[in-house]
Symmetry: C2
Subunit: 78 residues, 2 copies
């Protein structure tokens, strides 16, 4: 059974690098990777905040938030 891993980003260069090298490198046999562009899907910023995310790019796996380098603060996306 696959678990959902959610990658949140804002289209920034730092975000794209993290998406290509980390989000897309996860084992798809174990994870369904969902990519969410918070600049376009602003209605999901609240969900990201609730998961503990304060900046993007970030990856939420099994309820844990991992900030990967730093592209933009969530507060700047609102």
């Amino acid at each position: 059974m696959s678990t959902t891993a959610t990658f949140y980003h804002a289209g920034c260069p730092v975000c794209v690098a993290a998406e290509q090298k980390i989000a897309e490198s996860l084992d798809t046999n174990r994870y369904d990777v969902e990519i969410v562009h918070l600049g376009e899907a602003k209605e999901r910023i609240g969900e990201a905040e609730a998961a503990g995310i304060i900046s993007v790019p970030a990856l939420v796996i099994d309820g844990q938030a991992f900030h990967i380098n730093h592209g933009a603060d969530l507060t700047d996306l609102k």
Copy 2:
């Protein structure tokens, strides 16, 4: 052909979480994941710095450094 992905850490709780959720979630068909404890292998701190790492936990994939949350600065491990 597999590429080496190197995960650098220092044994801290933040590092362990990143190791279990991200380093161990990479697709092992594409990546040989090496785990390096810089507190024990201090001789490899220079290599981590050269890859652009300034704090752990961090993952280097295809020559790019990704800092994952923040456990400890590299300067504190010397």
